[in-house]
Point group: C2
Chain length 444, copies 2
């Protein structure tokens, strides 16, 4: 931190016109956030000239890192022809076909502008199809900023209630009771409790919303048994099973859902499918998606969006997902696996009570010797968060590595052994430097 | 319509993977929508090679038309440096300052990805600030796809109820009662009824949501008296006055709100401020916007977004709004005024019972001799919609002019007398061709 940091001066200006000086709380950093100047591949340089390896990739949104030449070329050509029209464009059809070809259950697709919009539209489509008002979601999962989807996202011991009947805890102050009453909360991966809870609202539930590898629950995949149990419950009770794969679609060629025996009825997408531009989508069963069809004599779900399916996002997304083919997915996951072996070795060598969870091209560290198996176990005390922030600062300032602020890494296809070596070497120094503090957390 | 239209073939493919074959219902057109190939300035060319004048401008989102060279240049340079980071970027601060300098009440700004997200965040901020659950909105107004904001958007005679107590009518099938119960509906520009309705929910209302020139209510500006009466009601009752200026910010240099004596507490923005890229924003009083400040010890409204304030949108938006300075606004409004005089003359010469409403750089036609003064008056029968669609088709196919499907025109700064002449000449032929059908509507 230079005493004459340009970022510090920009932040001072930012605070005059932006609440807290940041447009996104994720980029907030004390004493001030840093401002990006440019990025290329897996390296990002701030306006003070410091280059870092980027293991955050805009919150997991950049599967090919920054400014991939093929995406830059295609988008540059499109922009010269216009960025958005009040007409359709061919590329949206090509892109819908490409995504549809990857996953059997993606029979029909509608594009929106963000993961938040995708989850909101998916929930509204579920209600429109079933005529029912409630959704069920797991305690602690993040699904964007639609208020129904964010109930109990940050539930904590003071209000989360009995595990057999978790409370619907508002995230935002002033959330209407009419929202909370329509969201049923269950404990992730806990079959018995989840089914018992769902049963109590059986004829009211439009959909059960699942993130197959929920980040805030601990980045632990849903078990086959759990996903199948929930799926079977939805079949018996006339509800839909819907997946939020905004983050997890990167996990396999066909998303995290590829590894289960059962398929969701609708899936929300976002992040990587935009090739670096704002995007969201919902994809699923033809008969369900028909609620959006403007040709229907009685249209159940009228829906539009000024920037939805704009040709810039569609072009970038098409190129990105075309490049992220089966081979690229396997190669990226293999690199991540090797990195995972390296960091597990680092944990052993450093002798710290740290564990790591994840799937595909992402992993997350926990300051506990065994990985958590539930949200309530993964829930971090203020003391743990403080140590994590020290570790993140160590990595950021000393090792020049940018990670996601949950202490997670999201890999991109342009990374190599060089970057995973730097990651493990940096982590070794960070764990050693903060070992006493990490150990101290265990003694509480 | 060529028999071998490329658009027809693309649409056939689209129907296999996209519900109804369209990503946005606004671009749907029978028997098939057309696909854009390229656009420049105020001209758009479809993939069958037909060029049209664009008076739709991506649903009012393009204030400088398509592919403005200054925007193309700036965005092309930014894309080479990356499109989105897990760091802040300077351009978001510059852009926030630029917008803040235009409107006194824009003390603090937060960027999001769409008008829908902006209105949703504005409503959530209002609840977080006041601790109250309800919003009040006008019957028939469009405010994006957040379900609270879309109540009674398309209310019709079968369900809209008594004008002294309008029903909260769901737009989407399956909307929870918990949503409807938290939305109070009032008749736009009707002071006495509105105040009486608001009074019945006085201690429950977080905000009164106003579009100052609501498109679907008839594109009639809110009267000074109405806006002041609502403002004064919110002061007396501890509620916020919030404006949706997603469409109307184009009307004056400081938005449509510039012409009133009172100011909203928060304003939602979108459309033109993105320079052609996905955007939304909320701007308003520092003390209210503080609910979003991550530095607060008790953060009332935690909020983030993967693509919010991405440097591509910020760059395009900055250039677009910097070009749309006071002089450009006045020039555009003057051009629109001249066009309005021309089309009024056309209506007179054609001798059709047609009226026109609007503000700034936008106007809308109504198939009634006098313009409607309320949503219920502006509400169109199926027969009227059918004639409007014939007029739109006449303009589109015969005159090669693209308008918004409510029979509206949204002007851009790159238009000239040449395009307004073609508009009025085209309208004269369209009105003459459909005169009997237009007149026939009056006799019902």
């Amino acid at each position: 931190m230079s005493e004459k940091s340009k970022s510090e001066e920009i932040y001072r200006q930012a605070c005059e016109v932006i609440p807290g000086g940041v447009s996104r709380n994720t980029v907030f950093r004390k004493p001030f956030p840093h401002y990006a100047d440019r990025a290329s591949g897996c390296y990002i340089t701030d306006i003070d000239g410091t280059e870092r390896i980027d293991f955050a990739n805009n919150m997991a949104a950049l599967i090919h890192g920054h400014a991939h030449p093929a995406i830059v070329d295609a988008v540059t050509r499109q922009i010269q022809k216009g960025t958005a029209y009040t007409l359709a464009s061919e590329i949206e059809v090509d892109f819908a076909r490409l995504l549809s070809s990857r996953v059997k259950g993606f029979e029909k697709i509608r594009f929106v502008n963000s993961g938040t919009e995708a989850v909101m539209a998916m929930i509204k489509a579920s209600r429109a199809f079933t005529g029912r008002p409630k959704i069920a979601k797991a305690e602690g999962t993040y699904h964007g900023t639609y208020d129904f989807a964010e109930v109990s996202q940050t539930a904590n011991p003071s209000g989360w209630g009995d595990i057999d009947n978790p409370a619907s805890v508002p995230l935002v102050y002033g959330t209407p009771q009419g929202v909370l009453d329509n969201v049923v909360i269950f404990p992730y991966n806990d079959i018995e409790r989840t089914i018992a809870i769902l049963d109590r609202h059986a004829d009211q539930i439009a959909c059960v919303l699942i993130d197959p590898v929920p980040h805030r629950v601990g980045l632990i995949p849903g078990t086959n048994e759990f996903i199948e149990a929930v799926y079977n419950w939805t079949r018996r009770n006339g509800a839909l099973l819907v997946f939020d794969e905004v983050v997890t679609f990167r996990v396999n060629y066909g998303g995290a859902q590829e590894r289960y025996n059962v398929s969701p009825d609708i899936t929300a997408l976002g992040k990587i499918i935009g090739g670096g531009f704002p995007v969201g989508a919902l994809a699923g069963r033809s008969d369900v998606m028909k609620v959006l069809d403007p040709r229907e004599p009685s249209l159940r779900f009228p829906h539009s969006g000024t920037f939805s399916a704009n040709p810039v996002t569609m072009t970038a997304g098409y190129v990105a997902m075309d490049l992220f083919d089966r081979e690229a997915v396997l190669k990226l996951n293999a690199l991540t696996d090797r990195s995972l072996s390296q960091v597990r070795e680092v944990i052993r060598v450093a002798g710290v009570p740290v564990s790591v969870t994840g799937a595909g091209s992402m992993f997350r560290f926990h300051l506990t010797p065994a990985p958590p198996v539930s949200y309530r176990e993964a829930y971090q005390t203020k003391e743990a968060v403080a140590v994590i922030n020290e570790l993140l600062d160590y990595m950021y300032f000393n090792e020049r590595i940018l990670m996601i602020n949950t202490f997670s890494c999201m890999f991109s296809t342009v990374m190599t052994q060089k970057e995973t070596d730097r990651l493990s070497e940096g982590l070794l120094r960070a764990f050693r430097a903060l070992k006493p503090k990490i150990e101290n957390l265990q003694q509480k």
